[in-house]
């Protein structure tokens, strides 16, 4: 059980997709202008990455290594298209909100990276958990960026006014350059924090 927890939790902090692996930054910048958008995107990615890891892991013995990348992309595209069709039929309102995110998910580097690095070499269950952990880490990072950008850029969180009318919203946070600057600082902070964790572990005599 501890093994599975380790697989899951490494996506949260030590191998966080945004702050450590620095993958999928571009869409992350595009949709973190508000907390709702960030959360929606995070959950969508979590779903697709877990499902894709599961499928890639199941078929890993039949895939020819020379065409593995096109096959992974086909798999991701199939999952996304099927999800789109199902949503369109059974939850059209949700589809309307998710539409743009779903099509973006196909080209997420982090999903392809996990298929290549983890799922193609591991059994289905650990692969699924790896995907889920990475998705959770991604969602966490998106939430952090989203909360800061919405708070400082608009004075609200989840649409509720937090900073009153005395606060002039800093538009830079809503725009893309602000997101770059913010993520830069967050990556720095993340590095300091995870180094501390490693150091504390070392001092307690745990293996790193």
């Amino acid at each position: 059980m501890k093994g599975y927890w380790d697989i899951f939790s490494k996506g949260l902090v030590l191998e966080n997709p945004i702050f450590v692996l620095a993958l999928s930054l571009c869409p992350a910048l595009a949709v973190t202008t508000s907390v709702v958008n960030a959360l929606t995107m995070g959950l969508t990615v979590t779903f697709v990455i877990s499902m894709n890891n599961l499928i890639v892991s199941i078929v890993r013995n039949w895939v020819n290594p020379k065409v593995r990348v096109p096959i992974y992309i086909t798999s991701i595209a199939t999952i996304v298209t099927v999800a789109e069709l199902l949503l369109k039929a059974f939850a059209p309102l949700l589809y309307k909100q998710l539409g743009i995110y779903l099509s973006l998910v196909v080209v997420f580097a982090i999903i392809l990276a996990r298929a290549e690095v983890f799922a193609s070499k591991n059994r289905p269950l650990p692969s699924f958990i790896d995907g889920f952990g990475m998705g959770a880490g991604f969602t966490l990072a998106m939430l952090i960026v989203g909360v800061i950008r919405e708070l400082f850029g608009n004075g609200t969180i989840l649409g509720y006014t937090v900073l009153g009318s005395w606060y002039p919203p800093a538009l830079i946070f809503i725009m893309a350059p602000g997101a770059f600057i913010l993520i830069g600082y967050l990556v720095g902070a993340w590095n300091i924090w995870s180094q501390r964790i490693e150091k504390a572990k070392g001092e307690r005599g745990e293996t790193i």
């Binding site: 020819n64 096109p70 086909t74 950008r149």
Partner: protein
């Protein structure tokens, strides 16, 4: 060399077949899902459209498409005409902004709703919020100018281009409604 090449797992034919199989399986899955969901999706789409019409003109009991004007509707209650519903489109900050505008028989704006836009989240997409949208109620086509251009519409701060796009689209819809109204309907 050739014989060895053929035995090799990496022969071009095997690679191509491998990828082809993956694509065929994926195609079959998508095809099946589409086959079973297409009708339901179409029906839901219609329901959603009706819902959009209802949300923009309250109190009407019938929506009739206007012949010769695709996407335009008249909303009536009993025999009385309540509003024209006109789709409008205009170029915003990031691509087209598509609206549905309800115009009263007196050629005054009742309401609009944004159907589709790619405006900057947090800035331009505020055009859908009541603080901005409510300004339009009761205005005429001639009022359709933002304050920067000398009109009565208070533009969204930081999103003047979007504000202009919305006012322009609404103005077009009002003009269109005037033409339809004169057309003897």
């Amino acid at each position: 060399m050739t014989a060895e090449h053929n035995d090799n797992n990496n022969s071009i034919l095997k690679i191509a077949l491998n990828l082809a199989c993956a694509c065929i399986i994926s195609g079959i899955i998508i095809g099946l899902v589409y086959y079973f969901t297409a009708d339901i999706a179409k029906q839901k789409q219609l329901e959603l459209q009706n819902l959009a019409l209802q949300s923009i003109v309250q109190g009407a009991d019938k929506y009739t498409p206007i012949p010769g004007k695709p996407g335009c509707y008249t909303a009536t209650k009993g025999d009385q005409l309540i509003a024209y519903i006109i789709p409008a489109e205009s170029k915003g900050y990031a691509g087209a902004v598509k609206l549905l505008v309800a115009v009263g028989p007196d050629n005054k704006i009742i309401k609009y709703s944004i159907i589709d836009s790619k405006e900057t989240p947090g800035l331009g997409d505020k055009a859908a919020q009541p603080q901005f949208a409510d300004q339009f109620a009761g205005k005429t086509g001639a009022d359709m100018m933002v304050n920067k251009d000398g009109g009565p519409i208070q533009a969204i701060s930081g999103a003047t281009i979007t504000s202009r796009a919305v006012t322009r689209a609404v103005k077009n819809a009002v003009d269109e409604a005037a033409i339809i109204a004169k057309g003897g309907k």
